[in-house]
């Protein structure tokens, strides 16, 4: 029997998304960073996740998810070809929440590719699949 999962206390979580360059594997990587605000995100033993859902289907998992220094923002890092539409779901296995507004990739604030260094790795869904095996 799967454990009972609780929904977080009602809160209006909002998201915004932008492309950022993050140092991963000692090299610059271009990723989409989805920032969720509207609650407090505790540091726990488990690792928080963020994902994009379409209906009941998970269509994208974050590459990695971090909690901001003040604990008020959850930062999910996705491939730059993140799905166009969905819901942003996040949290821990025992407590999942969703942002109130639907995710739309067209709202992502993109960086000007021409201004990025040649050494910046564009993180795509295919790239992540090769890296992590799913």
């Amino acid at each position: 029997m799967p454990p009972k999962r609780t929904r977080a206390a009602p809160a209006t979580f909002t998201w915004r998304a932008q492309e950022v360059v993050q140092t991963v594997d000692h090299k610059p990587h271009l990723v989409v960073q989805i920032s969720v605000t509207g609650g407090v995100f505790p540091q726990r033993a488990l690792v928080p996740i963020m994902r994009i859902i379409q209906g009941k289907k998970v269509v994208a998992y974050s590459w990695f998810t971090e909690i901001s220094n003040d604990g008020r923002t959850l930062l999910g890092h996705f491939a730059t070809d993140v799905p166009a539409l969905g819901a942003v779901e996040f949290g821990y296995p025992d407590q999942l929440s969703r942002a109130s507004a639907k995710f739309q990739a067209k709202s992502i604030k993109r960086l000007d590719r021409k201004r990025l260094g040649r050494d910046v790795v564009d993180v795509t869904t295919e790239y992540l699949k090769r890296k992590r095996g799913y």
Partner: protein
């Protein structure tokens, strides 16, 4: 009769705890880098190596307590002169934890003859120290602290190291052992303890060539590392200290499963699960202090008299006085395995030792062999409530029709002489939620041996251990079919007993489980073996060792 000293209250005569704390500035004053960069994982992952690297800047900070000959000492140069040098214990805290909250353990360790340090695992972000370090970063941070401690304590610190990690730190201790061997760092890491550990960073397996004596302490009401269902394949285990224990091998290992203990209560408060009737933090802290001290005295000071605590034979007075329910698993290499169910496939009729297994129609259904837990739900394994990451055997019996259940393993000719072993051992659990088990009652069955002259004797499991009732935490999906080890001394099969023939330990032809003691039941078993571990033996040797030392 032996009287066990209490490692929870024991201190070396005349020893006090000196205290020297350091930060990045103090470290720089030693001529070492006070801020270092370490590699960390980016997230949790199932497949070993399937992670990306995030780099973290860490300021080296720690609390250090050490043996001293008088109170108030703050300079390591004034370390106790009682001994020429002392073993080192390092504590690696978990995510969101505060490295200074382990002072009560450091103090006790110092008074037990250890240099004991608790290191800060936060990293620098935006100029502030923040949490979020994963397992690899904590392991790499540990290695950055060793030169600091060795520089400051010089010849007074032995290259004889124990590490205790809590939560993510509890998983990091396995990475410490692996990295120490794989990158040829050469530190002599002699003992590892995981307190309420995660198991989410690459399925670490503490085995040769970096096998190390290992101890897991975990609470049944942990509200953080609670044993959740995996998120998605390839995760296919429930990711707690049980799975770390299952995969460890090639060195002695043990687990203490403390009923009603939480994730943080062992060190601070029950903040992770306050509403589920947890043990008071003071009780949990008494338990961790006793077991941690005994474990490191056993492996870093060579005091074998503590073995009994980890083999479910002895409980120190300070722990017994709490009334806490603690169930142990333990295993030492070198046994003769009858069946560990690791052979391929689901054929339960052939055993690891090369014999056959049969119930002769005495069970209502055939036993099931396979992974105790598996994932996804379309492939659930034998028991969705199992915290284990291993294969085992599920057995159900029903004697109500008059047929008494019995499961028999034959012993091949080459393995029939077991006289050199001290005991018969297996680990077992009641299947949580099974309608065949009577609620709120411990279970029982008998472990039997038959020799070539058909002499046989069966010994009740309950005489030497308990098949415990799974703890009934409020979230039923997190209740655990958690195995405990039962050890029956082989002497029980040979002592004179009126009307009972002795069993010839040089000619064993069968091992069997006799289920006639309870009318119905459903259990899971694993690691059936003849072992060198025997009740009382280790304690006797330990006592002798201590006298010789004196």
């Amino acid at each position: 009769m032996l009287t066990l000293e209490d490692p929870g209250t024991l201190v070396d005569p005349g020893l006090f705890a000196g205290n020297w704390n350091y930060d990045e500035n103090v470290v720089a004053g030693l001529g070492l880098a006070g801020t270092v960069t370490v590699d960390d994982e980016n997230t949790f992952y199932a497949t070993p190596g399937a992670f990306s690297i995030l780099t973290r800047d860490v300021r080296l900070k720690a609390h250090v307590l050490f043996p001293a000959d008088m109170p108030g000492v703050t300079n390591p140069a004034q370390i106790s002169t009682t001994k020429p040098h002392y073993p080192l214990v390092v504590i690696v805290h978990g995510n969101g934890h505060d490295y200074t909250t382990y002072d009560f353990l450091l103090q006790h360790l110092a008074q037990n003859g250890f240099i004991a340090a608790s290191i800060d695992n936060r990293f620098v972000s935006g100029g502030a120290l923040v949490h979020g370090m994963h397992g690899l970063g904590r392991a790499n941070n540990f290695f950055e602290h060793l030169p600091v401690l060795k520089t400051k304590f010089g010849v007074k610190v032995e290259d004889n190291i124990g590490v205790m990690g809590h939560s993510r730190g509890g998983e990091a201790v396995l990475k410490i052992a692996r990295l120490n061997q794989q990158t040829a760092l050469g530190h002599k890491i002699k003992a590892l303890m995981s307190l309420a550990p995660t198991d989410q960073y690459g399925r670490e397996a503490l085995q040769a060539p970096y096998a190390t004596p290992y101890f897991v302490l975990y609470g049944s009401r942990d509200g953080d590392v609670a044993g959740w269902y995996p998120w998605f394949p390839p995760f296919d285990w429930r990711m707690t200290g049980f799975s770390l224990y299952d995969r460890a091998g090639d060195a002695p290992k043990s687990t203490a499963f403390v009923y009603r203990a939480t994730h943080n209560g062992f060190i601070t408060s029950n903040s992770d699960n306050p509403g589920d009737q947890p043990l008071p933090p003071a009780t949990q802290q008494t338990i961790v202090q006793a077991y941690l001290t005994a474990f490191f005295r056993q492996h870093l000071r060579g005091e074998r008299r503590w073995n009994g605590m980890f083999a479910n034979e002895l409980q120190p007075a300070s722990v017994a006085a709490t009334g806490a329910e603690i169930y142990m698993q333990h295993r030492t290499p070198g046994g003769k395995v009858i069946d560990d169910f690791q052979t391929a496939g689901t054929n339960w009729k052939s055993s690891t030792i090369g014999g056959t297994v049969s119930h002769g129609g005495t069970l209502p259904v055939d036993p099931s062999k396979g992974r105790l837990f598996d994932f996804p739900p379309t492939n659930p394994g034998l028991d969705t409530q199992s915290p284990h990451d291993t294969k085992g055997l599920k057995i159900r019996w029903d004697n109500t029709g008059g047929q008494l259940g019995r499961l028999v393993w034959t012993i091949p000719h080459a393995h029939r002489n077991v006289k050199k072993f001290g005991a018969l051992s297996l680990r077992v659990t009641q299947k949580e939620g099974s309608a065949s088990n009577v609620a709120d009652q411990p279970h029982d069955f008998a472990l039997g041996l038959t020799d070539s002259a058909h002499h046989q004797r069966a010994i009740r499991a309950s005489a030497f251990g308990e098949v415990p009732i799974p703890d009934q935490r409020s979230n039923s999906g997190l209740r655990k079919s958690a195995m405990a080890t039962i050890v029956v001394p082989l002497a029980m099969y040979t002592i004179k007993c009126l009307g009972q023939p002795k069993v010839d330990l040089e000619k064993i032809v069968e091992f069997f489980l006799d289920f006639s003691l309870k009318s119905t039941g459903e259990i899971e078993v694993d690691d059936i073996e003849f072992t060198h571990c025997a009740r009382g033996t280790e304690a006797d040797e330990g006592e002798q060792d201590e006298k010789e030392k004196d």
